[in-house]
Amino acid sequence: MEVVRLRVNGDERVCGVPAHYTLLEALRYGLGLTGSKQGCDKGDCGACTVIVDGRAILSCITPVWEAEGRDVRTVEGLANGTELHPVQDEFDLNGAAQCGFCTPGILCSSVALLDRNPSPSRGEIRAALSGNLCRCTGYEKIYDAVEAAAARLDP
C-alpha cells in the first residue's frame, strides 16, 4: 500500500492504495465514491468518466498517481448540497436516465462541455457525449436534457 493524496470535489483526501491502482479504483474502493461506474473497465464505454482539471477523462485507465495535485470532480460533486446541478435536474425532468448506469459518466461529460461552451449546438452536444455509451435511452432524451440545462445556465 502507498499513500495517495487526491483533491476530489474540493476536498483534500488521503487514502492507501496499491501502486497499480487506477483513479477509478481509488475513488470507488479507497474513498467510497461509487458514483463513477466500472463498466467495460478498458476505456471504451465512458461509464467511469470524471472531470480532471476541467476536462472529461476516463478514470478506469488513468493511473491514480496522474491525478495527484490535480482537481478531480466526480458525479458526487456536481450538486450544490441538496440543490441539484441543472444538468442533473434536467435529466430528471426529461427522463434522460433509465437504468442509470451510464448516467454519472454522461453527467460529467455534459458538465465539462457546458463549463467550456455554455451554449452548445445539438451537434456539439452529440460530439461531446460520443464517448459515452447508453444502452437504454437512444440518446435523444439525454441531448434534450443537456440542451435544457444549457438554456437554464446561459439563458
Partner: protein, 330 residues
C-alpha cells in the same frame, strides 16, 4: 472488472531521468504518457512491466510552435490529441493532421491520449486485443505468447494492423520524430519509423522516448486532408485510413502529391506513382479516378479485423476520392 498487474510507478521530471530509468530497468520497464493504449493492453496482460515510467511530468515535451526560422512546426510529444486537433496553427498549416487528431477514438480519450503515444500506438488485431482468458482459450497468437497466426493460419509473420490516425498524415507531410535514449538523441523521418512487423512495428528501441514531432512548413500552396472509415463515428479504431498532402502551383496544378493508406497492414503504405499521375495537372475527376484506381491496386487488406476484407478494399478508392476532394479549399 479488469485488474492491473502489480507494478511500480515512476514519475521523473526530465527526459534524461526517464531515459535512465528505462535503461536501468530494461525489459522490465515501459514508458507511459496518456495511457489510453498501454493501460487497456496491460489490463489484457499484453504487457506486464514491473516498472511503469510516466512521462507526464516532463514539461520539455510539451508545447506547439514554430522554430526561429519559421519553417518547422514542433509539436511536443505530450500534447494531447484534443489540443493538436484544435490548435489554430496546426489547423491552418496541417489541416489533415488536425482532422486526424480530432478523429482519434472519442472525446475523453483525446483529452488523455498524446500525439507521441499515437505515433507509438501498438498494432491491433482481433486475436490480440482480447483478455488473457480469451487469448488462452484460443491458444494465444503469434504476436503474444503463441506460435500461430489466426489471421493467415500458415504465416510466420504477424499481420496486426497499424491503427493510429496521426502517423499517415505525418508521413504525408514529411515530418520527422525526435527520439531520446541512453545513446543520446536522434531524428528519424516518420516515413522510416514504421516496419512491416506486426509484433513490433516501429524503429523505436524499448528504452527510447519519442520527445517531439517536427513538421516542415513550406510557403507554397500546401493542402492536406484525412479520411477515416470505422463502424461508429466515435471510439472505434480505423478500418481504413487515407491521408493526403499536396503541393500546388499558383494555377492550381499539382507540383507534388503524397497519399498514405493505413489500418490495413502492420505499417502505413505510401502510395506509389501518385506524383507521376497528377504532376502538372489539376485534380479533376479523371485524375482523381486514376489516383483512386492506382491506390486500390496497391492495397490488399487481411482479416486482421473482423470486418470483411474485400469490403475494406472496395472502400479504398471511395475514401481516396473523398480525401482528394477534401483537399479543395483547405
Amino acid at each position: 472488472m479488469l485488474r492491473l498487474h502489480p507494478f511500480r510507478y515512476h514519475r521523473p521530471d526530465t527526459i534524461e531521468e526517464a531515459a535512465s530509468l528505462l535503461a536501468e530497468f530494461g525489459a522490465d520497464a515501459m514508458p507511459i504518457a496518456g495511457g489510453t493504449d498501454l493501460m487497456p493492453n496491460m489490463k489484457h496482460r499484453l504487457f506486464t512491466p514491473a516498472h511503469v515510467v510516466s512521462l507526464n511530468g516532463i514539461d520539455a515535451m510539451r508545447g506547439i510552435g514554430f522554430n526561429a526560422a519559421g519553417d518547422r512546426l514542433r509539436i511536443g510529444a505530450l500534447e494531447k490529441l484534443a489540443d493538436v486537433a484544435s490548435h489554430p496553427v496546426v489547423r491552418r498549416h496541417c489541416p489533415g493532421l488536425a482532422e486526424a487528431a480530432g478523429l482519434v477514438a472519442g472525446p475523453q480519450l483525446r483529452n488523455m491520449g498524446t500525439i507521441g503515444g499515437n505515433v507509438c500506438l501498438d498494432t491491433r488485431c482481433t486475436y490480440y486485443n482480447q483478455t488473457e482468458f480469451w487469448r488462452a482459450a484460443l491458444g494465444y497468437c503469434l504476436k503474444k505468447d503463441g506460435t500461430v497466426c489466426h489471421v493467415t493460419r500458415v504465416g510466420r509473420k504477424c499481420v496486426a494492423a497499424h491503427s493510429a490516425d496521426t502517423p499517415p498524415n505525418l508521413i504525408a507531410l514529411g515530418a520527422s520524430l525526435s527520439l531520446t535514449g541512453p545513446g543520446g538523441t536522434r531524428e528519424i523521418d516518420a516515413g522510416d519509423f514504421f516496419v512491416t512487423d506486426g509484433i513490433l512495428n516501429t524503429r523505436r528501441a524499448p528504452d527510447e522516448i519519442v520527445t517531439e514531432v517536427v513538421i516542415p512548413i513550406t510557403n507554397g500552396r500546401h493542402r492536406s486532408s484525412y479520411m477515416k472509415l470505422r463502424q461508429r463515428n466515435s471510439i472505434d479504431f480505423p478500418l481504413l485510413s487515407v491521408a493526403i498532402a499536396g503541393e500546388f502551383e499558383d494555377d492550381g496544378t499539382v507540383a507534388g502529391l503524397t497519399g498514405v493508406v493505413s489500418a490495413l497492414g502492420a505499417r502505413p503504405r505510401v502510395l506509389a506513382g501518385w506524383t507521376e499521375i497528377a504532376a502538372g495537372k489539376r485534380l479533376g475527376s479523371r485524375v482523381i479516378e486514376a489516383l483512386a484506381e492506382r491506390a486500390w491496386s496497391q492495397c490488399r487488406p487481411l482479416e486482421n479485423i473482423i470486418v470483411d476484407a474485400e469490403w475494406r478494399r472496395a472502400m479504398v478508392p471511395v475514401f481516396v476520392k473523398r480525401a482528394l476532394e477534401g483537399l479543395d479549399g483547405k
